[in-house]
């Protein structure tokens, strides 16, 4: 099995490279947890992905809905869409729009910051702007949307309203996810 993770953007600044001496390590510290099994408020059925908006609110995607929590894990709201078939991953842009990939519907669902369903983009196929099993999603420079198009072995770049921009094709790859370095955005 081959796996590829793509990190778009300038990932390393000269200064931070100097800090990363071999003798340093990161010490993890558990802060808190929230959620238990169930379909009531604040409960989950297999939480798959998490994203945080600029107001520090936590969005958690489970089987069919997205729940919103304040930064300490207290339940705030929830939303969903009848267009969801098998939502897989989510990302939030700087304007608060919520982008959700759907690995079975082969599209990206978009909600606005008030959790209203706005549109979906992408359809099944391997052409321009088409998707086949989209997995992770990330928002990059100028609110551009990067989607791992797993079955097509590529990453597809859309603009913030779903207009196709470009493909990055990696033949023979098995891409699961990607991350955008915030320090690389805008460069």
């Amino acid at each position: 099995m081959k796996m590829l993770f793509l990190l778009m953007g300038l990932f390393l600044l000269g200064s931070s490279e100097g800090v990363l001496a071999k003798s340093l390590t990161l010490k993890p510290k558990f802060l808190f947890q929230f959620g238990k099994q169930g379909s009531n408020k604040g409960e989950f059925v297999g939480p798959k992905d998490v994203a945080i908006d600029l107001s520090d609110r936590i969005y958690v995607l489970d089987e069919k809905r997205i729940q919103v929590f304040v930064s300490n894990g207290i339940y705030l709201a929830e939303f969903s869409s009848t267009n969801f078939v098998r939502p897989y991953a989510l990302a939030i842009g700087r304007l608060g729009n919520i982008y959700v990939t759907d690995i079975e519907a082969n599209c990206v669902h978009v909600f606005n910051k008030d959790f209203q369903y706005m549109q979906k983009f992408g359809s099944t196929g391997n052409g321009e702007g088409e998707l086949y099993c989209p997995r992770q999603i990330a928002i990059g420079e100028s609110e551009n949307v990067y989607v791992v198009d797993w079955h097509n072995e590529r990453v597809v770049k859309f603009n913030s309203v779903g207009g196709f921009l470009t493909n990055f094709v990696f033949p023979g790859s098995d891409i699961w996810g990607l991350a955008v370095n915030p320090e690389g955005v805008g460069r």
């Binding site: 099995m1 081959k2 796996m3 590829l4 993770f5 793509l6 990190l7 778009m8 953007g9 990932f11 390393l12 931070s16 490279e17 800090v19 990363l20 340093l24 390590t25 990161l26 010490k27 993890p28 510290k29 558990f30 802060l31 808190f32 947890q33 959620g35 238990k36 099994q37 989950f44 297999g46 939480p47 798959k48 992905d49 998490v50 945080i52 600029l54 520090d56 936590i58 958690v60 929590f69 894990g73 991953a89 989510l90 992770q136 990059g140 420079e141 470009t166 990055f168 990696f170 033949p171 023979g172 790859s173 699961w176 996810g177 990607l178 991350a179 370095n181 915030p182 320090e183 690389g184």
Partner: protein
């Protein structure tokens, strides 16, 4: 654009035009084997502050930390306590990038973490009046702590203001950057005094986070495991779970422990003549022999530790010869023999020290051993960074 088909697990950096900038080695330098198994999946990835990357490893229930070019460390284990996971999935950081949130898929929860940049210390000497019998990160501060017990009277580091107690006591010494920082008393199981022959020496789960440590107590010919819980936020210590081990001395002596098969249970290492066996949790009814060791064992089993990547290291010591370490994989096969330059009797292990093997420096645990030069008091030494 670069795409290397033969490479099995990899993280690559691209610019926004799709040009390959660099790739992260998902291998630990100190380990031959790829730290991400073929069976596991690097599921999601995010950027933490300072240019660090954090990835979730789905089937191995761990979270990996990377620099922009190298694997750094990992934490996590299978289970449903804090810092344990059942298939970690998507993860992200907050806008300040100083908090990590992880979807814990089969536990139906989200866990939050923060990270602190630490430098390694050089260890140091310290004097205790009691036996050193365990090591691990009990206090959850990222530094190796040691567990000391004293039978019948107080250890000399306790404050004189405390009332005299006649029952056995145990305490944790927090070894932080060359110094003994604080002492935390342990609540022992109510009907079990702290054992005179306390032989198991290793923490169990999440020891890189310090949230879980397991202690094995014995009384007569019975053994009991207590899962010892330290809440790093509330500094509350309690025994979370106790379990009787159906073990008889015919099976051999318990020498060390660790989670060899990554099932979230403490496995016990037993020695019997020239064989080393693993007694497997959760019920300890199954035992497996460790294969791949030399026919004549390189000494007594002294300790075992888990260094963050997949294999545990089992340490043997004979007389005043340097200790020998073996990587034990999850199939209970010992693979590489390492010479460890410690000739004093090793009592406990934690953290890392560099060990040179085949002109290559790799990292091993730090060793707490007894210095016989000081009489009356026991002087122990922590070797190496952390």
């Amino acid at each position: 654009m670069s795409c290397r088909k033969n490479k099995e697990n990899w993280v690559q950096n691209y610019d926004f035009q799709g040009n390959l900038l660099s790739e992260i080695l998902t291998k630990s330098e100190s380990h031959e084997q790829d730290i991400i198994s073929k069976k596991s999946v690097l599921y999601d990835l995010t950027f933490y502050q300072g240019g660090f990357l954090i990835g979730s490893i789905e089937y191995f229930n761990t979270i990996h930390l990377y620099t922009p070019t190298n694997y750094l460390t990992q934490f996590g284990a299978y289970g449903n306590y804090p810092t344990q996971f059942k298939d970690p999935a998507g993860l992200t950081v907050n806008p300040q990038r100083d908090k990590l949130y992880v979807c814990d898929y089969k536990n139906n929860r989200v866990q939050a973490f923060s990270f602190e940049l630490l430098t390694n210390s050089n260890g140091g000497n310290f004097i205790v009046n009691g036996g050193v019998y365990n090591s691990g990160d009990f206090t959850g501060d990222g530094c190796g702590d040691i567990l000391v017990y004293c039978k019948g009277k107080k250890p000399n580091w306790l404050s004189a203001e405390d009332d005299e107690q006649t029952m056995a006591q145990a305490a944790i010494l927090n070894v932080d950057h060359d110094e003994l920082e604080e002492i935390i008393d342990i609540a022992l199981p109510a009907d079990w005094l702290f054992p005179g022959s306390f032989k198991v020496q290793k923490t169990l789960l999440g020891n890189s986070l310090g949230v879980f440590n397991s202690l094995v107590f014995c009384k007569g010919k019975q053994f009991k495991i207590a899962r010892y819980w330290v809440d790093p936020l509330l500094i509350q210590n309690e025994v979370q779970e106790e379990k009787q081990i159906p073990i008889s001395f015919r099976m051999g002596h318990i020498r060390a422990s660790g989670d060899l098969n990554y099932d979230g249970n403490l496995d016990l290492i037993l020695t019997q003549k020239q064989s080393v066996r693993v007694l497997l949790g959760p019920d300890y009814t199954n035992s497996q022999e460790i294969t791949g060791l030399p026919k004549k064992l390189p000494g007594r089993v002294r300790a075992m530790y888990h260094e963050g990547y997949q294999d545990n290291v089992l340490v043997f010591q004979k007389g005043k010869r340097p200790a020998q370490g073996y990587f034990i994989n999850s199939n209970f096969v010992a693979t590489v023999g390492l010479q460890i330059p410690v000739t004093q009797r090793i009592r406990a292990m934690s953290g890392s020290i560099p060990v040179t093997q085949k002109r290559r420096t790799i990292t091993m645990g730090s060793f707490m051993y007894q210095d016989p030069k000081i009489k009356g008091k026991r002087k122990f030494k922590v070797v190496g960074p952390r």
